[in-house]
Symmetry: D3
Subunit: 281 residues, 6 copies
């Protein structure tokens, strides 16, 4: 996809209406440096208003999804220095800019959720730290048998601050498990991840997992984009509001859908038992 | 129940304090026309202030719970026409009234939740589209082995707008699964539904499932209605508020219970190890 | 722990940074009288600003975790009398003070959640009524094979009002199950409790369960307390807010962590693959 | 207006697109019996989907806007009896139905706000108790010189429960004043009411005040109903949400307006400096 | 009042059901040391469940309401030292305890609001810093002509953190003014304070102002305490919630009032045009 | 200020730490084309992390603050065409992108509020439509005698959607007035604007008004930036949250301030009665 040129990401067309985003720093076990998460923010923000993208498969190159934050870069960077507790910069001043930095980081990861197009993620090897924040912002999670998951932040002396603590408890309905893995940073295998509902399915190889993800993304991309985008947007809105507020917002949102051609097209096709074709958004 | 006369619903006494509501359009596979959902709204609103009703079993006649929205009626109705994207009615004007229409529809389905009396639903055959919205508003879901479930709306060109997107993610603790089935409209069998927690139990036949539902509803109807109604009301309130706000509202709500005779009756019976009798609400 | 002297609780050091709180009224099956819950409130409030306590194991003496509220005391107490629906005290006046009483009770149980230090609870024998409220406020739940759980309040003529209805649906992702057990007060065995995610693991004996709890608490206590306390605090905050508000608050919270020595210590240790030592809070 | 037949209200056309609602029980000083507020609920709910009504003038017949609740009816009614604190009906049961009664009453008064068409109210003589709840739900308040206002509920032994305590502090930016008048039930003259912003303007006679109200309602009715209805709806929504949530909902709402003919019509007319004509909703 | 013994406060009976609280450190211009605000928290918390107190007059001894925080104590105290930015205590650890300290301070001031009994405050001389936080938590503000007001915190290098920034914008409906005085710390005279609605009335002398406050408190104390306490509680609740949520909570709250004797007493007295007598809470 | 180069804005240093932003399209009466609001968004976003900017004066060149939206550009632009209700683009697809467009526009105006540095705005001549949205996002409003204000959107067939309906009712405590001017689009003179609290003060000439604004901005810029930025940030946060949530967030925010050198510097200076110097953020 020529309009999506990045250093740390490969973006390609995986099928009709399906974009494939590959995190591509295998030599560093896809550790997240600033460039990586900045590009993820840019890429998914661009997806939001790109009608050609109807669903996304997110994956990572090499033997591991991601080793987490690139700690060496974090220590070497100017931020690492600014963060030095022994520096003589006033703590309120350092804190003001740190807060802005964290908000930027969060915003980049949240772009995956905000883009309104469903994102299926495939995890192989390990998924540590920021990797958990990232996959928690995706819609559907698929893993290989060798995958494992670690909420690693507590081991680098901080609470996770880019989304895991907000989203994980709302995507896995087992709070006792969520808290245990967040406090202990213990390693969770793909079987356990499947059992608690962190991932939807587990495949023997990365190839099979990718195939499953692309098939699912393909099915989604063939549906009415008005319906699909609305469904993702409203699921996210409703998660963050009461049922009553979710319904109120939904009624307003769907006044547009009720005036769209897609609904008539879909109903007529459904009554005729034919497959409908829907133009892009 | 003589005060509950409807066209599309059969309402009967299923046991002491238990009402049975049967959706009764088997010839149309219980497809929901406007009459059906309007009556559901009326029936459960009436339950709310009917002290004789302490719990409800909801079911449907024939081989299938519901095929979903009655698409033929939807297309033929004046709303269907008004919804025509090619009509020359101004879209803001159409949209204003569509929004009111959706709010009315939502309100009818939400009446099941708002009625304050626990509702156990039995699903056999298929449960599609609006059927999912409806059972998500019930308290306990029981299925037969042949039951299957489809969040169908995406296939008619729209996001579900009568409750599924609001309630389903809050009743099933597996967001990866919820999103998958909402985006793909794939068919979910009763075994899978049980595994993810969409239904509480699965029985071989409709008769066995109905028996289980009626037994459970009977147990509930024999408890103090002050306690039961409060429990349902507070579970719903607390789902939509922070833990702190839920506790604050609960403390206020229970000032009435603490002054009720039921609590004294129940405690004395409990200490005597006798079954207590509680008058109706 | 000499500063923690209570009548109904034994508080001891269970390991480096780990406090053990034992409810100690085995002769009454650990039924909760006013003294018991008052002391729980005091004990966990004290933990909050006690840097020596980094994690907590909560358990109960004897063959059962708790039989629930001490009904005899409740009936005999002045509150029991004030609660008499046949007394001639004006109901609005009684109600005003009952509300304050319930708020106090809630506040004592919520202290477990508010204390910011992770709490692992071990349940053996039965856990009834107020016991459910209490374990719902803990972080991780571990059970013995003989354990069973009952949301008992409906059987004493009232809706649960000290936390179960607020927290249980947010820690177990199966609303059909939650509502069934809240309306029917039926007994749930440890196997079922494990399956729905109420408890994290089940052990044959109390000894083994305690060992597992203490091991987990020990692992947590060895981590950076800045990271652990932040993680618990932010998980609780985020449960009660939208993802967006949770992220905003987290960014602010972590400005302190980013200026702490722990992060540098942890990162350096991690890069050196050494175990880090973190001073107490 | 032939479709608006009521016992206690006169509804007439006051001008192009302007409905006039007159509370008409002057012999009882427009005291509110159940019939009166029930009809207000019905009337304004009907306005909501009546495209011929673009704005409303609300007023009352006789020398006084309203003396407040009809206390004699309240005491004589079955509710009055049910409310008897000395009756032997269980307080939790009485309370359950009282709550539903108050919610119905609130809903009737809130219909004025929910109807989406701006309501200008004219107050002459006195406006007591429920009268304050009612005018607080209106958009613009105009008074005569002899008008006075009393938040009377505290004098009948209760906190106001149909809207004054919710809306008054949000329409008058002087909390010290609001609280004083709510705690003391003191009489506020029209001059003071103007000064604190409770009313927009004061006129010597009812005739002049009515003229001003009808002029303003006429101006509003000549604007695009898409714009006017949206403005009222969004002002109400935004009052009850954060600025951010208000903006988000507004962006969604206005997607319809941006596709309406009214905007093009209005802009073209504005550039040509001509008066635009807008069809009804 | 023998149960109210404090070092920095004088608490006395000012009239039937009216308590008078006088801040009594005139030699220090009533500067707030830790003892002062701790006692305010204790005193008003005690009022909450003291049926003999129906309304409160808050005032201060000497020529000035308060000079604000006692800066000398703040610098000398252990907290002042702990707060030293140059100390080598880890900032995340200092921060954790500072946060708890601020929460305690806030809680003490909020006790004035939480106590449910209306508080009329009289301000003479100056009211600086913490004084603004305190009077913002009162219900009605009365001033003398020589009074002046300063939101002083910005001048001691911090944002106000005990309530002014939360409450002032909600009690004065002029945000341009609020922000100006919060950013500039400029002095506001009593005339200007009256004009913007910060105070309800201005009197020439402290004696006259006290007389007005005591008269108003006396009027309030003679009303039904069920009605008055409910009114204050619901005004506070409704300020912090949407109109809809405020109404819902109010309907629940008033189920108690509707079953109280006060309402019948008040209505009968009102119809007979007699003064009613209401027992204490 | 060399880093602030814009087409439609002049940005200059107005005093120590004070930036002056002048909207500079006097030939078009400062009508807002897309370039104008885009640059406002960019400029104030840049201020947020520019430590040299401590406060801002916003003004406009020529005889009028702004005539509102540039209608000719709006009609001619591609968006104007896309917005054509008679185009054959599917309304749900048009609507999706219109919504994103409005959100971008809102975001640009909200940057004024989000930048954390206080903004004093000076209005001369007229302030129409988008001008009202803009000044509502400022902190302090100052006007000249010839200034007038019009909430103009209703006259172009739409509800205001860039902030007026959200912010105006929260900055002016007179809802009757707010609604009247929003529904009627009537012209409000500077005297009336002052009376209702829309503006803080009125000056005879633009020069005098600018002088007053710059003096105020200068006073603010001389204070501790930690204190000032915190005050603005917390005022905005608290407006959008309950008092309780505002306090909780404030306690966390100020843990940084309590560890800053500014507080010590300020207190010492205050005790010495000297002016303190505070380094930039």
């Amino acid at each position: 996809m020529p309009n999506y040129k990045f250093e740390c990401l490969n973006v390609s067309v995986s099928g009709e209406g399906v974009a494939r985003v590959e995190i591509n720093r295998p030599e560093a076990l896809n550790a997240f440096n600033t460039q990586t998460w900045t590009e993820i923010g840019q890429c998914f923000t661009q997806f939001k208003s790109d009608g050609d993208v109807r669903s996304v498969v997110l994956c990572a190159a090499g033997r591991m999804f991601t080793a987490g934050l690139d700690l060496k870069e974090a220590m070497a960077s100017s931020l690492g220095k600014a963060r030095d507790p022994d520096s003589d910069v006033d703590v309120a001043r350092k804190g003001y800019y740190h807060r802005l930095f964290i908000l930027d980081f969060q915003s980049a990861i949240s772009a995956v959720e905000v883009c309104d197009k469903p994102v299926v993620v495939v995890v192989q090897g390990g998924c540590l730290g920021i990797g958990m924040d990232l996959i928690s912002a995706c819609d559907v999670r698929i893993a290989t048998e060798d995958a494992y998951f670690v909420v690693k932040e507590v081991d680098i002396g901080m609470a996770a601050d880019v989304g895991t603590l907000q989203r994980l408890p709302k995507i896995v309905g087992n709070d006792s498990w969520v808290r245990e893995v967040c406090y202990t940073a213990r390693r969770v295998g793909s079987k356990e991840a499947h059992l608690v509902g962190l991932v939807s399915s587990v495949y023997a190889t990365t190839g099979e997992a990718m195939k499953a993800a692309e098939d699912m993304a393909g099915v989604i991309a063939a549906k009415s984009p008005v319906a699909v985008v609305g469904t993702k947007h409203l699921l996210n809105y409703s998660r963050d509001h009461s049922v009553g507020e979710g319904l109120e917002y939904t009624a307003l949102w769907n006044t547009l859908a009720h005036n769209s051609h897609d609904m008539a097209t879909a109903i007529v096709s459904s009554l005729k038992k034919q497959a409908a074709q829907f133009p892009k958004l």
